[in-house]
């Protein structure tokens, strides 16, 4: 149940995700993605993941930490999300359960309400944050973090991780 402060955990795995990575080296596969999907996620990997002490490698094939996909998935509840398919390897136990072989999806069916470079980077920052175990943050949290999602991605939001996000990752890897 909920604790007092913070209102809920902002790091750690649950059954439906997020999951942690198995180590600090992210192997990233792009599966038939648009150029803008590559650009926005590589921006986050190049500019934000080093703050976690993570490295990343571009891979092609079925051996990956994260496979990135995009599509027009219609009116679903999210602009982007991650899952851990049956083909992935799981280890550890909650709240430190990790998934090697996560799939990250970007939903362009709803991109009419977000599609600037800034907004894309914010979304990429957010979804990739889930792949290392970061969870959505409270709307009331005063820190500036891409893990806060109480509005449509927009230019006023952070497209970076907060110091708290970074500390959480360092504390758990």
């Amino acid at each position: 149940m909920l604790g007092s402060s913070p209102a809920h955990a902002t790091f750690g795995s649950v059954a439906g995700g997020p999951w942690l990575a198995n180590n600090k080296s992210h192997r990233v596969d792009y599966f038939d993605t648009l150029t803008k999907t590559g650009d926005m996620t590589q921006w986050a990997l190049n500019n934000q993941f080093p703050r976690f002490g993570f490295t990343w490698t571009y891979v092609d094939g079925s051996d990956f930490d994260v496979r990135i996909m995009d599509g027009e998935f219609g009116d679903v509840a999210a602009y982007g999300w991650t899952d851990c398919p049956a083909s992935a390897t799981l280890g550890g136990s909650h709240p430190n359960r990790w998934c090697y072989g996560q799939v990250l999806r970007i939903n362009y069916a709803l991109s009419g309400s977000w599609d600037t470079t800034w907004e894309r980077r914010a979304l990429a920052c957010h979804e990739l944050g889930h792949t290392v175990g970061l969870r959505n943050e409270d709307a009331s949290d005063t820190s500036s973090s891409c893990m806060k999602t109480n509005t449509t991605p927009n230019n006023s939001l952070a497209n970076t991780y907060s110091a708290e996000d970074v500390n959480q990752v360092f504390a758990n890897y």
């Binding site: 209102a7 198995n22 150029t35 999300w81 398919p85 799981l90 280890g91 959505n136």
Partner: protein
């Protein structure tokens, strides 16, 4: 990237992509797999243990925890409920795969699949249910990788309070003033957001689809399911 309307061409696309690799304008994969650039701290030994453990697993709905950036967020229960197209109590009576998206790269195919539940409504608090069977609606989650959502069948039998959006419906609060016609015509529902299923876990209210990121949701989850229901009823008539 495939759209539903392009699914009919999936087979042709598969053949084309197999022959030609990526289409123009899309990213090109690297030449082949490579070893990780470094393995800084392989701190967790791999295993195949079961998913057990956190507070969210107290409800079978936790398999649909929304692990992403949500479309809709509301600052109060009243604003969430008033925005919904349907607020109802109901019981899940069946689950089946919904629409799929098939995408190919080289000789590999990836499928994204909707999970579709049939919910028998027992008490409609607001809204007029749509669908082919009176008293029943289709509630969809995903799409996800097939079999990514382990434990879907465990959701069958769950009686919960649902705060739902008809797929494709206009959502003035986010600036969508016209329906998304293709989704709207299907007459199915999604949750408004991760606060859209209030589960009854041994009499306690639970929000198993997400982390309550608003004070009202945290408060709701501290009370009983009966209290949550009364709060929602009050919000409907407010």
């Amino acid at each position: 990237m495939l759209t539903p309307i392009r699914l009919a061409t999936a087979t042709v696309m598969l053949m084309l992509l197999t022959a030609c690799g990526n289409v123009a304008g899309e990213t090109s994969p690297s030449a082949g797999p490579s070893a990780p650039s470094s393995v800084a701290t392989d701190r967790l030994a791999r295993d195949t243990g079961a998913d057990v453990g956190t507070e969210k697993e107290s409800s079978p709905w936790a398999v649909h925890y929304i692990n992403g950036w949500e479309v809709e967020s509301y600052g109060s229960l009243a604003s969430l409920v008033r925005s919904a197209d349907l607020v109802a109590l109901g019981t899940v009576v069946a689950v089946k795969p919904g629409p799929t998206w098939v995408e190919s790269e080289g000789d590999e195919t990836m499928t994204s699949e909707i999970t579709a539940y049939t919910v028998e409504l027992t008490d409609v608090l607001s809204g007029k249910p749509v669908g082919s069977t009176p008293g029943r609606i289709t509630l969809e989650f995903g799409p996800n990788s097939p079999d990514a959502v382990e434990g879907r069948t465990a959701v069958v039998g769950e009686s919960s309070l649902f705060i739902l959006r008809r797929k494709g419906a206009p959502i003035p609060s986010i600036g969508r003033l016209e329906p998304m016609k293709q989704d709207f015509a299907r007459e199915v529902y999604r949750v408004v957001n991760s606060m859209g299923v209030i589960a009854d876990v041994d009499g306690a209210a639970a929000l198993p689809l997400g982390d309550p990121d608003q004070a009202w949701a945290e408060e709701l989850e501290r009370g009983s399911f009966a209290e949550a229901l009364e709060h929602v009823r009050a919000a409907v008539v407010s």
